[in-house]
Point group: C2
Chain length 255, copies 2
DNA sequence: TTCTGCAGTTGACTCAGATCAACCCGCCGA
DNA sequence: TCGGCGGGTTGATCTGAGTCAACTGCAGAA
């Protein structure tokens, strides 16, 4: 997989990492930026590298510059669930906590810009805009997590897979108009860990979406959405009542 | 269900709502408290009352003084999932968003203290301590939501039910030592909506935990944990490897 | 070029949990 | 006192997705 830094021609917002949007640097005053930059380290991580260990003290926060990071939780007996995905300009870390409850792992190659815990907390105290930006990201992640709770608790296997593909497509093309090929940032096993399914089931559902003409695949990692409307319906988010059979979650009318 | 305000003999922190701990009032200066109180309204909600509608503009924020609030999400075809539960001194609302993605509904009788959006946002700008408290609650809710993603994605029905009962027991008795009866704040149907199961399955699993001697029930709403250790194991959080059969989430070793 | 290994796919079979249906029981109102 | 109702339990049956296993195809090493 190739590393690609998005919009590298954008004005540099952070002296050492060029982070923008949701990254922490974009909202700082020039003088604060300089201070932050002094403690900043850029580095890369290979696929599978552990960026944050569960239970370990959190020493550094990071901006993700390129690549995708998986957040996972694991049961004592080894069953694993991906509880979040973080993309390009996201902030990585857990403010106000001594340790992280989740494990963060690079999916594919990842480029990071990281700085010591103390520096960021100091800046957070001084710069309300930074504090607010991090608060907003936390709330956005909370909304996402709750959306996935709905998916995990109530959707069928094919709806889950469609929902995931929709996530990938929307991230690359929020308008949902384009027909270009999107790169799927996870392998089948990781998709399964994200959706609470098995690798085999994911594979079967992808195949059936392909046979239904809703998507097509150039390679197993590259997705082309042929029919956005149909994909949205397949994800259980369509406007018309879905044909799902499962009862789950009372459909009955309410007082 | 009886309304009980916890610790009503605690020093009043908010002139009109006595909120404490995680509530918004506890961290304000006296002068700010007075200002907030001027716009504050106390009210009660009956079981099933809608406190926050999905898609509707958010006009008021609230402190929960007593009772339990369900946060739910619903698919277009009616399948429903509870994506969060909020208890006594929690804050209810979604800062920085025009509309809420979730529906908030009273489970049982709820007592609230609420104030206009503008007032709170104004105070948040002035009082970093308040801002930080809300940020911390958001992060705590995020951790909770991710924990439930693991439960929904990877645990079996009996583990889910045990996990839920553990949640109830821990909330009333964080030490996990007592043997008193805990009030289960939800009916079977709501528990099912929380755990991504059906009412019947919840009922069966409760019965089987009872037959195994791990819990006992005085009424269907009152729980006595007979063996905390066993309950933790049944929830899949035990120290020894659980006897679960389901493969899901690669148990295989990793590089 | 062949060998090896990994990622993904496909098939046959099984089983946990959904579905459908009957039933129990405490409560409230007539 | 009765009847209806809502919440909860139990039983019989069905099915979607997990399990186990074989197989494909590609990519890198020998």
């Amino acid at each position: 997989m190739r590393l690609d830094v998005h919009n590298s021609d954008v004005p540099r917002l952070c002296l050492s990492c060029e982070a923008r949007h949701r990254g922490v640097c974009g909202v700082l005053e020039p003088s604060q930026l300089v201070r932050l930059s002094r403690h900043t380290v850029r580095h890369e991580a290979a696929p599978g590298a552990e960026l944050l260990a569960p239970g370990e003290p959190v020493r550094r926060y990071s901006n993700i510059l390129a690549g995708v990071v998986k957040l996972t939780m694991t049961l004592p007996d080894g069953r694993q669930q991906i509880v979040g995905l973080q993309f390009a300009p996201d902030f990585l870390g857990r403010p106000f906590a001594q340790t992280s409850e989740v494990r963060a792992e690079a999916a594919g190659f990842v480029r990071l810009c990281s700085f010591p815990r103390e520096t960021l907390e100091e800046l957070m105290r001084e710069a309300p805009a930074l504090h607010q930006r991090l608060h907003e990201q936390a709330l956005r992640e909370l909304d996402d997590a709750r959306g996935w709770m709905l998916t995990l608790g109530r959707k069928s296997a094919s709806e889950r897979v469609a929902s995931f593909l929709l996530l990938v497509a929307r991230r690359a093309d929020p308008e949902e108009q384009g027909e270009s090929a999107f790169d799927i940032p996870l392998g089948r096993a990781d998709i399964a860990d994200f959706l609470g399914l098995t690798e085999e089931t994911v594979s079967r559902q992808v195949t059936s979406l392909r046979k239904a003409g809703i998507i097509s695949l150039e390679t197993s990692r590259s997705l082309v959405v042929a029919d956005h409307e149909a994909l949205r319906n397949a994800a259980g988010e369509g406007s018309q009542g879905a044909p799902s059979s499962r009862r789950s979650g009372r459909t009955q009318s309410r007082s």
